[in-house]
Symmetry: C2
Subunit: 294 residues, 2 copies
């Protein structure tokens, strides 16, 4: 009964990674160097360790050098700042990323703010956000997940200009930059958040929906205008006794219902997730190209 075309994020991310691998190879041939990504991990959260491992693996696959330091849970803020500072000064590192969340006893704002703007591949530095928001300015880096959402739209042939886009969620990491990027592509953008009294009604007016809420299957079939394109950023685990692990991952969109109404939709997993890492690699590559004047 589902009519929506599935936007295959896994496949598109593979395409992007193949392109990156080629560019890295070319860089190696022309300047004899490769891009480098450094990851700072503090503490022993298993989920964080998993993310960091998959980022390193993704680097290796495209020929990006990966550097990393793991500090104990009880490391001092100064030790973390020192680790960041070392990578700031290291010319073989073009991107630095501090895996969040950090232990409670240190300031995320301070640690993330210590990353040099030129190596801020996560795009979280206020200067990069300001340049993103300002017309006529270009940020050095755009936050990976929202950048991945736009890339999915573009590579799926979705026209953005002149369309009404609704972004559900306004977080610093996803919703806010996604809205700015869509507006930069000349969509008319509305941002829905937890204080919006009528989210279903507003969303129903959208040609393009990006859901980044963190509420499992919030967006139902009747929130969607027939033919709209739906990008589901959410990753939520819900109990599922029939699954091996006892849970499964679902998005912020009720896929079964929305796939019957939308014209295109991203699945979870296999939609936005793989694009986030691909964009991290792309940001690292771009940073290296800037460094080498390529």
């Amino acid at each position: 009964e589902a009519t929506a075309e599935v936007i295959d994020g896994k496949k598109i991310a593979q395409d992007v990674r193949r392109e990156i691998a080629q560019e890295v190879l070319k860089m190696k041939e022309t300047v004899g160097k490769v891009p480098g990504l450094a990851v700072v991990l503090v503490g022993n959260r298993t989920d964080s360790a998993t993310y960091v491992r998959s980022k390193k693996k993704a680097c290796e696959e495209v020929g990006i050098a990966s550097f990393g330091v793991t500090l104990p849970e009880d490391a001092s803020e100064q030790e973390v700042l020192d680790a960041v500072s070392k990578f700031n000064d290291d010319p073989s590192v073009h991107g630095i990323l501090v895996q969040l969340p950090l232990p409670k006893h240190m300031s995320e704002e301070k640690v993330v703010g210590a990353i040099s703007v030129e190596k801020d591949v996560d795009g979280f530095h206020p200067l990069n956000v300001g340049r993103l928001a300002l017309q006529g300015r270009t940020p050095l880096f755009v936050s990976c997940t929202p950048k991945g959402c736009i890339e999915l739209l573009l590579r799926s042939g979705v026209e953005i200009a002149g369309k009404h886009a609704v972004v559900i969620g306004r977080s610093n990491v996803v919703g806010m930059p996604a809205a700015i990027l869509l507006q930069g592509h000349n969509a008319t953008v509305t941002t829905v958040h937890s204080r919006t009294p009528n989210p279903a009604e507003v969303t129903r007016s959208a040609d393009i929906v990006i859901a980044a809420v963190g509420v499992a299957q919030l967006v139902r079939g009747d929130w969607i205008k027939p033919g709209a394109v739906v990008i589901d950023v959410g990753i939520n685990s819900v109990d599922d006794p029939s699954a091996k692990k006892g849970y499964r991952l679902v998005g912020d969109v009720c896929y079964a219902e929305v796939a019957k109404v939308a014209s295109k939709i991203t699945p979870v997993p296999g939609g936005v997730g793989p694009m986030t890492i691909a964009m991290l690699l792309q940001n690292t590559l771009e940073s290296a190209k800037r460094t080498f004047d390529l």
Copy 2:
């Protein structure tokens, strides 16, 4: 026939200025100092000279010290940068403002970017814009005109949270920061721009409209939902043989029509205009208070 209550920007701006004057007096008494605003004017445009004069006059009226330098039209970029730099280093100056537009042979981005973030009372620095866009961060300064629009809403008792707001225009100076501010006050915000195919329809869904377009009387009566609140930022001069000067100023809103539909509306002139200068004084005061730890 008009039913809308007029939001009297001139009177509200006077209230704000009175409050500022009192705070300046208190500052003088407690720390023996007053806030200082420096204005850099390049060239001899009569409109720019008029703006600068009225800013100086407004400073005097509230007890803010005003500094200024006027450079000739053919000044070099370096000379302008030097003037800015001198004010950056001057401890009696808490706000610096370069009157725009600058002559074509110099880079606005470079000159405005040379103003110290701590004295950027126009709020144009990318770092201030980034902090404005980021939740949990606070900009040192917010751009005066959009800040004035919000102040008009708040001081007129308009509730913003939970309302749908439409901002027409997305410029760095007005539209974009106005949208961010409204969202910060928990409105659900849509930004309309020149690539929006159906601006009337979108605007008609708004409880609050801020028009910052630069097109005389674009917003007609049938763009407005009955009872909506309308803030008209536009200042456009249109030919008027019956006027003494041969022209008159009108807003981006067709006042005669919209005043019959809206619940509240700002006039042009006497709406947003006076608030812009009042917010400049307020930003300068706040900067001085920060300097003196008050």
